[in-house]
């Protein structure tokens, strides 16, 4: 009898463990702790920076400089995988387990709201406001959520229109013109596969015509609008009328770049990274870049990319993390990064002559970032993006009409916002 009782209690205990396993840390979302700038003053100890692979060498160089100038502090790099998706998985995994392994998180701008809502990063409003004037305004947009600022913009990114100078003497000033010339000449390539890149390419068009995904307060969905339908129709016609090759629906950044470099297209939409690579390819002297042209009679717009620095709520040394993050956004360190081709978020860096030498298109890059907008800052951004790219992809393939796609996007995003 006693044995059965013990067994029963053991079973219940296990069930209890399993059931209660996830229920700690309830409702920690909006009551996150705030870090003040002064707190970094007497920081000491170790700081671990979790960010993707250091392809440019800028991360390691910055860390070395920091360690030299701050003898009481020791920063080190914990490299995450190459792909952004895997980086996010690795970060989220640790954050959900409340691990203190990462102090400073290198977050893709689109993850900021997600981390903030989950209570995984500190509220850095006073810190960001201290440096706000030095940043390009559109980069600060990406850290704003629910009226607070959650991260320091570290580096940024904005797309360009690449064009072949031997086929197109002057870059067109409207997308309509781009497509017309693409039809007559050798076509336009962009990132049309069913992934985040397509959302970016679509939003660049939509933002230009003044369309929106969410309302200002992020509460209502506004994507089912005449602007959206117009943009979708425009994209669909692009493929239908031959301005854009069908292959575009399998292209990511690299495949479109390779197609452009192999001479298979007159125009390409891509990030700045392709510039340096293009200059080493066969078409080195035959291409140039321009900021995005306008659409539907409006100014050109773009989408802000890049990485922000968040401080993990589970860090055991948030003061040191703060000191390190502040260091990384000082003009000097930003210059270092930009010379290694990581676009800075600090405006004055773009005017520095040495930077201009390293990156001849720095002025265009500044303009591109300034005219860009942030993607919807929401904790359910991945689902919003999915709703967008699923439907835009279907339109490109001719499987849905622009009207159907617009309303599908609307209802799917509404559903996403309902998630509790």
């Amino acid at each position: 009898m006693v044995r059965y009782l013990i067994a029963l209690v053991a079973c219940l205990a296990t069930l209890g463990l399993v059931a209660c396993g996830d229920d700690d840390g309830d409702g920690g979302g909006t009551e996150a702790n705030v870090l003040e700038p002064g707190q970094a003053k007497n920081a000491s100890g170790d700081v671990t920076w979790c960010i993707g692979k250091d392809t440019s060498g800028a991360f390691t160089a910055s860390i070395e400089k920091f360690n030299q100038e701050n003898p009481k502090l020791q920063a080190k790099l914990l490299e995450l995988p190459e792909s952004a998706d895997l980086q996010r998985e690795q970060q989220v995994q640790r954050l959900r387990a409340e691990s203190s392994e990462c102090d400073v998180l290198g977050m893709d701008v689109i993850w900021t709201a997600e981390y903030a809502a989950a209570g995984w990063i500190y509220d850095l409003t006073p810190v960001v406001e201290k440096y706000e004037d030095t940043f390009i305004p559109s980069t600060v947009e990406t850290v704003e959520y629910e009226g607070k600022k959650w991260a320091l913009p570290y580096n940024t990114n904005a797309g360009f229109l690449y064009y072949r100078t031997n086929e197109v003497p002057q870059p067109p000033t409207t997308w309509e013109q781009v497509y017309k010339e693409a039809r007559e000449k050798n076509g336009l390539v962009y990132q049309g596969e069913r992934y985040e890149g397509l959302t970016v390419d679509f939003l660049e068009l939509l933002y230009s015509s003044g369309g929106k995904v969410l309302s200002e307060d992020g509460e209502t969905v506004e994507i089912d609008s005449p602007e959206t339908r117009e943009a979708l129709e425009f994209l669909a016609n692009g493929v239908k009328e031959g301005a854009v090759p069908k292959a575009v629906t399998t292209y990511e950044e690299e495949s479109s770049r390779r197609a452009f470099e192999a001479g298979k297209a007159t125009f390409m939409r891509n990030w700045p990274y392709a510039y340096a690579l293009g200059k080493e390819s066969d078409i080195a002297d035959e291409f140039d870049i321009a900021t995005f042209p306008g659409f539907a009679g409006n100014e050109g717009a773009g989408v802000v990319g890049g990485y922000n620095l968040g401080i993990s709520a589970f860090s055991q040394n948030p003061e040191a993390a703060l000191a390190f993050s502040e260091f990384l956004v000082t003009p000097e360190v930003q210059k270092l990064a930009m010379e290694a081709t990581l676009p800075a978020t600090v405006t004055e860096v773009y005017k520095d002559p040495k930077v201009r030498e390293a990156l001849p298109f720095a002025p265009e890059l500044l303009k591109a970032v300034e005219q860009a907008e942030a993607r919807p800052v929401s904790p359910v951004y991945t689902e919003i993006s999915q709703a967008i790219y699923d439907n835009v992809f279907a339109v490109l393939n001719g499987r849905t009409s622009p009207d159907e796609a617009a309303s599908a996007m609307n209802s799917e995003i509404e559903e996403a916002l309902q998630r509790f």
Partner: protein, 276 residues
């Protein structure tokens, strides 16, 4: 002088077709690993400017070498352990009288069909709590759990086919059950042991999900996860060259292993399938 029969020609053509079919992508891997730059995704059957750069670059830092070592340790341990305890279980299921044997075997087999993706996060949290995160043991245990069902099934099939009389004769001579198992059944079941061993080894060697979820530093990261950290020299670039070079380096020892044991594998794959 013998005439070449048309039948022979057809046979040789078929053989050639099989070889090309099986080896072409491997050839393509080698081909790509010797290319660089824009050639990487091109269609050239031979590298336009062959270079060993990819091979030197993967060995530039220690990470890939460490990954190879990690994979060898983990795959080796899992194989050894799985053969050891799997052979016990296989024998028990095939030979000994036990209640609920079919049920046990069915449960064991069905566990290996559960999508690993759903249990990666629970295992990660459990391991972090008990300190097995980023350790060899932390990777050995899940791979073992997923490799055991297959091992047990194959070994059970093999042991089943060994005539009982041999064991009975030994027991009549005074050996215990366990001794009969050790000295007669296992040696006779060697083809099955080798088969199961090779299958488990390759399975663990290829395993990606747990590898990337349960490790965080190059000191413990196995090869498939390490490849996910390869980068091209620029953002967005899929480093086809280095990935191909790494795969060639990783596959060649496997092929050598297989060549050495291939006769055993085939004999091994026979017994369980045919007689059963």
């Amino acid at each position: 002088m013998g005439r070449v029969e048309p039948k022979q020609v057809v046979l040789w053509l078929a053989v050639a077709a099989i070889v090309v079919f099986c080896l072409f992508p491997f050839y393509w891997l080698i081909n790509t690993s010797l290319k660089s730059g824009a050639d990487l995704s091109g269609a050239a059957l031979l590298p336009p400017t062959p270079t060993l750069d990819n091979y030197t670059s993967i060995f530039e830092d220690d990470n890939f070498t460490m990954a190879l070592r990690n994979s060898a340790i983990i795959a080796g341990s899992v194989t050894a352990l799985s053969l050891l305890i799997g052979s016990f279980a296989g024998y028990a299921l095939a030979r000994l009288h036990l209640p609920f044997k079919f049920l046990i075997l069915a449960i064991v087999l069905s566990i290996s069909t559960f999508p690993p993706i759903a249990i990666a996060a629970p295992v990660f949290e459990l391991w972090t709590d008990i300190g097995l995160y980023n350790t060899y043991l932390g990777l050995i245990l899940p791979s073992l759990a997923f490799g055991l069902p297959l091992t047990v099934y194959i070994l059970a099939s093999f042991f089943r086919d060994i005539p009982r009389e041999l064991e009975e004769a030994a027991m009549v001579d005074g050996a215990s059950r366990f001794q009969a198992f050790r000295k007669i059944v296992v040696p006779l079941g060697a083809p099955g042991v080798v088969t199961a061993g090779l299958l488990v080894f390759i399975f663990v060697w290829n395993e990606f999900l747990f590898a990337i979820t349960l490790t965080s530093t190059p000191e413990r990261r196995p090869v498939p996860a390490a490849i996910a950290f390869f980068t091209g020299s620029q953002q967005f670039e899929i480093p086809l060259g280095t990935i191909s070079a790494a795969s060639v380096v990783v596959t060649v020892p496997l092929i050598v292993l297989v060549l050495i044991f291939q006769r055993r594998i085939v004999a091994g794959l026979t017994a369980g399938a045919v007689k059963g």
